[in-house]
């Protein structure tokens, strides 16, 4: 039996989902921004049901790719749990009415029941059940209230016979229902609500947004550095004698090269040795993971609190000039975590043009957290100004690239049109679960590529392929970009994992300015394999070829300009 959770965006579907499934969740896609579905299982009595959380939709006549997924899935469900926001009954009933027309058995979860009561909204549930002809259960998913009753009544889900409605008939019917079941007491807006309004007005909202972004990065750094200093570095120090022992035991040879890598002055250097058990473990766990944990925790807070739609509204003016609209900030934010979910998040944009621009710009100018952590690692010792230089360059590329693509890419750019949900206090348990799922997802995605990268580098060095490549690309690397010819190897590794590639810059003995050029090019020239595969799926082969040409072209132009500015002719 397939049970689907269907509802408008921001009605707490995902919270209902995690209440119903407990801990055993299979995230078939990237958790959090449900642009595809999340699957889990749920036991009722002796039976196990498959529970699927669909992307939020206002209607079954889809407006975006995310809504298409929902419309398609409804056809395959055996039972639909329609999650409704009790504070916005009227608007939510539109989707309910569409669902009932489809003839699939429906049960309604009237969620945020407590909020409705605080807002002075009274809903006659019995009457609503009677009119709709399906069970209606009031719930408060964040506290778990009503979930038991919801579960016990799932089998009562019904598909009442109703005739096809036109769009206008549907609204007329909903109007009648509202008249019969809902009473709203008038009340004044509270101080808290007035404050929340201030965060979406430009005069007060923009300084607030800058503060939020500033603190986001400070907190990520603070947590990340704390985790490294107090947890991960001590662990790797304890681990070192064991690998040294193994190194002595193995003796020189190909196996030693692959597992341990090269010893530098008789010692293991975690960043440079390039063995599976040294660099292969240190890069993901020692250098990158702490920041990934920190970033995803903060990102989850931003998402669950409801701040992102406000940020999208405030940024709309800028993003509109880049051919997108305010929602374009979401792929950027997610892309900073990892470009793969960033690429998936472009689906929330409506047209091909917007998705193309958002995806291409993200792949070009948004380094992922793994890469950022490594950039801090190699450039931080030379001074923060070099790190700023990398990010200012990338931001400039993002905006100029957007302005140009807006002009030359054909297609429509619809305007921003989105709901701004009320602020909600994030639930710690949900936050931790979300962070955990995302971190686990990251590790499973990253480590195979990292190992493959290290393995290939060792093999290709041994057979001399990398020296050959260095020779072929020497004119480009040395003359055009001002980098040592060996840096071409780094670009090759960047196809697999960018964090590993950035780390490989270290032994090349480059000046800080050269490191800046290399870090910028490494971001722009091409996405990593995982992102590339995702982008091909999202954009299609033809658009991906165009996008790739833009990436390589941009890398050459920006690299050349930086070289002239930083190194001279």
């Amino acid at each position: 039996m397939k049970v689907l959770l269907v509802g408008n965006p921001n009605v707490g579907k995902s919270v209902v989902f995690s209440r119903l499934t407990g801990v055993d969740v299979i995230a078939s896609n990237y958790p959090g921004t449900t642009v595809e579905f999340t699957k889990g299982s749920m036991r009722i009595g002796k039976e196990t049901f498959e529970l699927i959380d669909t992307p939020g939709a206002y209607s079954l006549e889809p407006r975006s790719k995310a809504e298409e997924v929902t419309a398609r899935m409804v056809k395959e469900g055996d039972i639909v749990i329609n999650v409704i926001d009790a504070t916005n009954l009227e608007r939510n009933l539109y989707l309910t009415s569409e669902l009932l027309e489809r003839g699939v058995p429906v049960i309604v979860a009237l969620n945020m029941w407590d909020d409705a009561q605080h807002l002075g909204i009274e809903i006659d549930i019995e009457k609503l059940e009677e009119i709709l002809g399906v069970p209606v259960v009031p719930t408060v998913a964040v506290t778990g209230e009503g979930i038991k009753e919801l579960v016990s009544r799932i089998r009562d889900a019904r598909s009442p016979k109703i005739h096809k409605h036109t769009h206008d008939e549907r609204w007329a019917d909903i109007g009648k229902i509202i008249e019969q079941v809902q009473v709203v007491k008038h009340r004044h807006r509270t101080i808290w609500e007035r404050f929340t309004d201030a965060t979406i007005r430009p005069v007060t909202g923009i300084p607030f947004a800058l503060l939020i972004i500033y603190f986001t990065f400070q907190i990520v750094r603070f947590i990340g550095e704390g985790l490294i200093g107090y947890v991960f570095e001590p662990i790797f120090e304890l681990y070192k004698p064991f690998v040294m022992e193994l190194s002595r035991f193995l003796g020189p040879g190909i196996l030693h090269d692959i597992l341990i890598g090269r010893l530098i002055e008789g010692e293991i250097e975690y960043m440079e040795s390039m063995g599976l058990l040294t660099t292969g473990l240190f890069v993901p766990f020692g250098a990158v993971l702490p920041y990934i944990i920190a970033f995803y925790f903060i990102l989850s807070i931003l998402e669950d609190s409801g701040y992102l739609p406000r940020l999208a509204t405030l940024m709309d003016n800028v993003f509109h000039r880049l051919g997108m609209h305010g929602h374009g900030i979401v792929p950027v934010f997610l892309g900073i975590g990892c470009n793969v979910p960033g690429a998936l998040a472009t689906r929330t944009l409506e047209t091909r043009k917007q998705r193309f621009i958002a995806a291409t710009l993200m792949a070009i100018a948004v380094p992922c957290m793994a890469q950022i952590a490594m950039i801090f690692g190699i450039l931080g010792i030379h001074g923060m100004e070099y790190i700023y230089l990398v990010f200012i360059t990338l931001a400039t590329v993002y905006f100029l690239g957007g302005i140009l693509m807006n002009r030359f890419v054909k297609g429509e750019c619809p305007e921003i049109f989105l709901e701004v949900p009320p602020y909600r206090r994030p639930n710690l348990e949900t936050l931790l679960k979300k962070t955990f799922l995302r971190v686990r997802w990251f590790l499973m995605e990253a480590i195979p590529w990292l190992f493959l990268g290290i393995f290939l580098v060792n093999i290709l060095y041994t057979i001399g392929f990398l020296d050959l490549m260095g020779g072929i690309f020497a004119p480009l690397m040395e003359t055009w970009l001002g980098l040592p010819r060996e840096a071409v190897v780094v670009l090759l590794v960047g196809f697999l994992r960018k964090d590993l590639a950035v780390g490989m810059l270290l032994p090349l003995g480059m000046s800080p300015s050269q490191l800046v050029i290399a870090a910028v090019i490494l971001t722009i020239y091409f996405p990593c394999a995982a992102t590339f595969a995702t982008l091909v799926r999202e954009l299609g082969v033809k658009d991906m070829i165009k996008s790739t040409l833009i990436m390589i072209g941009t890398a050459l132009i920006v690299g050349g300009i930086l070289r002239i500015i930083l190194l001279g002719f």
Binding site: N88, R91, P202, E419
Partner: protein
């Protein structure tokens, strides 16, 4: 008058959505419908979006779309 003519904190009733079927349906499924009372929360400068409230919904609408929503001031 147009929705974009409202000043901050002003309230009005929506009288017409001037646009094709797709445009109307798009607004309506989000809760922006004829007969509804809207309050202007903020207008972003230089052609930016407007933010309105309808019942308990807060909605951001691009300037061009908002210009096609006709209202009557209350």
């Amino acid at each position: 008058m147009r929705l974009t003519d409202l000043k901050r904190k002003e309230r009005a009733r929506i009288v017409e959505l001037t646009g094709g079927h797709g445009f109307r349906r798009n607004l309506e499924t989000m809760g922006v419908r004829e007969g509804k009372v809207v309050e202007m929360l903020t207008r972003h400068p230089v052609g930016g979006p407007v933010v309105i409230r309808i019942d308990n919904l807060t909605i951001t609408i691009g300037r061009g779309m908002a210009m096609r929503v006709m209202v009557q001031r209350l």
